[in-house]
């Protein structure tokens, strides 16, 4: 009765059983188990004590992970990289080798991917290291690893990575915010940069892009800034650090590390340089802060910050009510503070509150700060090419006073302006004046115009 159906049924049963077994076997033999087995064998071979050797060989094979709940990160890297924290394994082969120089970035606080990139959740080599599809943060090549420093150290000089300071300086002074938005500051002609590190751009791509923007994104309106090679490398490093992941905020909120950048922020807020100087820059009411960290013990500095006491004949410093972590952070800042720091701190302070400068000087600073110079050129002398706009370039603003009344010019700044075409048949010019009314306050516009009016060349008065 119905022999054939029975046979087919039996055969199919066997086939389904086989596939089930195949699935189970495959799931039961992930590659990381082989790594762990090899590691324990290696560790056992280095162990003299017989019982401990046996124990090592009997270690259960399991996924090891570092949880960073504050960042929503899970790093499973130690599943294979088992010797990261064991100095005895300094000469072991990869992936078991010891990681030198980790202090103060301890693994249990920082995991691995915060610095190295890569997919912490993965337990397979390619998926973890990348590049793989659909994971935007592949492991950073060794050369660019230092970029990650700036993810947390978002302010001030970063010890050991001067390039990042250079790049930030470029962004702040060469007019980048005129087109690019970064952390809700800047205009929107170019792409927003806040999460640029998570856009699958390779370092090579970025370097070539800074060398010649149009070679990578053909219609790019980005002017050629003629960056030098060191500048290109600095910018590439810096862009690789731009993320909206709140790493800096997170590590500041858990005050485990006396962070110099946090100290710098606190120093700016407390306006320390009103009284203190660093290497001769800024105030003279109180002691010079340069070298303070080497002259005095850490404990002394921190105590002075927390509860200031009179020193010799001088009156005590004002009590600012710094918390203990804040005191440690400020002390960390003092270790690295330079005269340049003092000057930028002062600049920032005066950019927020007028420090007696003329309206013209305030306006000049704002053309740097808001990025006007990116298109209108240094000192607003013009020069950036803008094909098919009248004159073929973004206009200089030194003749602004001849062509417009202040009110007309203010209106253009507020509303923006699309340049007139030279040849209506050709495509519209890539650059245009964006609207600034959401970014600039009225008094900022007034200051910028005062500056622009001051640039009017003397001979034009002959007209």
């Amino acid at each position: 009765m119905d022999k054939r159906a029975q046979q087919v049924f039996a055969l199919l049963s066997l086939a389904v059983l086989a596939v089930t077994l195949a699935a189970i076997v495959e799931a039961g033999r992930p590659p990381w188990k082989a790594y762990q087995r090899a590691f324990y064998r290696l560790a056992a071979s280095r162990e003299r004590d017989a019982t401990r050797r046996q124990r090592l060989l009997r270690e259960p094979l399991e996924i090891k992970q570092i949880l960073l709940p504050g960042l929503g990160r899970v790093d499973r890297c130690p599943t294979c990289h088992l010797g990261v924290e064991d100095p005895d394994l300094a000469d072991a082969p990869h992936p078991f080798r010891f990681h030198p120089g980790l202090e103060p970035h301890r693994v249990e606080r920082f995991g691995c991917t915060v610095c190295h990139g890569g997919q912490g959740l993965a337990t397979e080599k390619t998926a973890a290291h990348g590049p793989v599809q659909n994971w935007l943060q592949p492991r950073l090549p060794r050369r660019y690893l230092r970029a990650s420093c700036a993810c947390c150290h978002t302010e001030g000089e970063i010890p050991g990575v001067p390039e990042l300071g250079v790049a930030r300086q470029i962004f702040a002074t060469r007019g980048c915010p005129g087109c690019h938005r970064l952390n809700s500051f800047g205009n929107t002609i170019g792409p927003e940069l806040s999460d640029e590190a998570r856009r699958e751009r390779t370092p090579e791509w970025l370097e070539q892009h800074f060398r010649d923007p149009r070679s990578m994104t053909p219609p790019s309106p980005m002017p050629d800034f003629r960056f030098t090679q060191p500048e290109i490398e600095a910018l590439t490093l810096w862009v690789l650090s731009l993320t909206t992941e709140p790493m800096a905020a997170y590590y500041r909120s858990v005050p485990v590390i006396p962070s110099a950048s946090e100290g710098r922020r606190l120093a700016a807020r407390a306006n320390c340089l009103h009284c203190h100087a660093i290497q001769g820059a800024a105030g003279s009411l109180a002691c010079n802060l340069a070298g303070m960290a080497t002259r005095r013990s850490a404990r002394y500095i921190e105590r002075q910050l927390e509860e200031p006491e009179p020193i010799g004949t001088r009156a005590a410093m004002l009590a600012f009510g710094f918390s203990q972590p804040a005191c440690r952070a400020i002390r960390a800042f003092l270790e690295v503070a330079t005269a340049a720091d003092a000057r930028t701190l002062l600049d920032n302070a005066s950019a927020l509150a007028d420090g007696g400068e003329t309206l013209v000087e305030l306006g000049r600073r704002r053309t740097l700060h808001f990025g006007c110079v990116g298109c209108h050129g240094g000192d607003l002398k013009g020069g950036v090419k803008n094909p098919n706009s009248q004159g073929g370039a973004v206009p200089a603003l030194i003749h602004l006073a001849d062509d417009y009344t202040r009110e007309e010019a203010a209106t253009i700044i507020r509303r923006g302006k699309t340049p007139a075409l030279e040849d209506p048949a050709k495509p519209a010019p890539p650059l245009y004046m964006p609207s600034w009314k959401k970014i600039l306050a009225e008094e900022d516009i007034e200051r910028i115009l005062a500056y622009a009016w001051s640039l009017r060349p003397k001979e034009s008065e002959a007209w």
């Binding site: 029975q6 086939a15 195949a22 929503g72 659909n134």
Partner: protein
């Protein structure tokens, strides 16, 4: 031994299967089998007649339920966790990746098989009297299948999920007045977010599968109540001749006195022959073996596919980063393609009309003829509607690039 025998006898209260009585009792006394008749028509078991597509749809639903429950143990429907849980399934859970693959591919397969099942039922005219209502139930089951797949699409919380649901719900919102309100109700807001995720999760795991299970029961029940699986049209034709003979002969005329149509005459003749047991065979083993083979074949194909091909998981959902083009799930790409011509006509009117037409079909088509060769026009129209949707899906999948502009699939993306 004695205890074991007693245990066995307490569980199965029937005669041994070697006896005809035992085979009958197997069907009769088993809760899960008694939806079957004890005996079935030989011709209904032919693979070439039904393709066992209805069974396969049901089996896929079972696979989806089993794997779905397994996945629920690991999945948390919140934007903060969902994507990470998918990664955990892939990298840290034993058989997690396989289970998810099986769930994903079975869901796609179910849509295909359900549509093919509908097509088979249409071509063989099996929706006609007295099975009209069961066809309508079937159409509702098709809609539920699509909704289940659509709601499940969001759960991985990757870019694919986020934007497919964003596009899908926006298409729905083209419906006048009701559309935007429905969209808001479904999403729990104006855009896809945490509220949408929990709503889709509850729909996907409780509401829709519940409705599906209930309607499936009705669907099966009605098969029995409407006279079992419909006979193959060719058989009807053969019996039609016999019926004609019966009607024209004196005795036959007497037998069929009071009947109204040829179709009824055919049914009567067939019932008479069936009663004489000419083409009836026992469900066990003939039907059950074949159903078992269909189940095993379905399992084998789905498991093999899941072992070889991984289900896609794109980068994490990012509302600030719109892919261009953002595409709906593939089975709605036909609709999205129509939307690109006219939002209202393509996105709302056409799909709604198609569903309504499908529901009303058996009541509009009152022609009792079932043989495909005599219903060429109907089959052509039905095939063309399906084919048009298929063509639109193919276009939407492979021929549409940035800004929904036409691209050739082999021209390569700018990557």
């Amino acid at each position: 031994m004695r205890i074991l025998r007693e245990l066995r006898d307490s569980i199965r209260r029937r005669a041994p299967l070697s006896t005809p009585k035992g085979r009958v009792q197997l069907v009769f006394h088993t809760l899960w089998l008694h939806i079957h008749p004890v005996k079935v028509h030989k011709s209904r078991l032919r693979f070439t007649y039904t393709g066992y597509l209805g069974f396969i749809s049901f089996y896929l639903f079972l696979i989806l339920t089993a794997t779905g429950i397994a996945l629920m143990f690991y999945y948390r429907p919140a934007a903060a966790y969902a994507y990470q849980d998918m990664k955990d399934l892939e990298f840290a859970v034993f058989l997690g990746k396989f289970t998810r693959n099986l769930h994903r591919w079975s869901a796609h397969a179910m849509i295909v098989v359900v549509v093919l099942h509908m097509y088979r039922v249409f071509v063989t005219g099996s929706y006609k009297k007295p099975r009209q209502f069961n066809w309508a139930i079937g159409v509702l089951l098709l809609v539920l299948t699509l909704l289940l797949s659509f709601t499940g699409y969001l759960l991985p919380w990757d870019q694919l999920a986020f934007w497919a649901i964003t596009v899908g719900t926006s298409i729905g919102a083209y419906a006048p007045w009701l559309g935007p309100k429905l969209k808001e109700l479904l999403l729990g807001g104006t855009q896809v977010g945490d509220a949408a995720l929990i709503r889709f999760y509850v729909l996907h795991c409780i509401a829709l599968p519940g409705a599906m299970a209930l309607l499936t029961m009705v669907h099966f029940w009605r098969i029995r109540k409407d006279g079992g699986l419909s006979p193959p049209p060719a058989e009807v034709q053969e019996h039609g001749a016999a019926a004609l003979e019966a009607v024209t002969s004196d005795s036959g005329r007497a037998e069929l006195a009071g009947t109204q149509s040829g179709a009824v005459a055919v049914a009567a003749v067939m019932a008479a022959r069936a009663a004489r047991g000419e083409d009836l065979i026992l469900s066990y083993p003939y039907a059950f073996h074949r159903e078992g083979i269909a189940l095993l074949a379905t399992l084998l194909v789905m498991m093999t596919v899941s072992l070889v091909w991984g289900a896609p998981l794109e980068e994490m959902a990012n509302p600030a980063k719109t892919p261009n083009p953002a595409k709906a799930p593939w089975y709605f790409l036909g609709v999205q393609e129509m939307v690109s011509y006219s939002a209202f006509l393509g996105g709302v009117a056409a799909p709604a009309l198609i569903i309504l037409a499908l529901l009303a079909l058996p009541y509009l088509d009152t022609n009792p003829e079932r043989r495909p060769s005599k219903r060429k026009l109907a089959i052509w129209i039905f095939s063309l509607v399906l084919l048009a949707n298929l063509v639109f899906i193919v276009i939407g999948t492979w021929f549409r690039g940035e800004g929904w502009k036409w691209v050739w699939p082999w021209s390569g993306s700018d990557g």
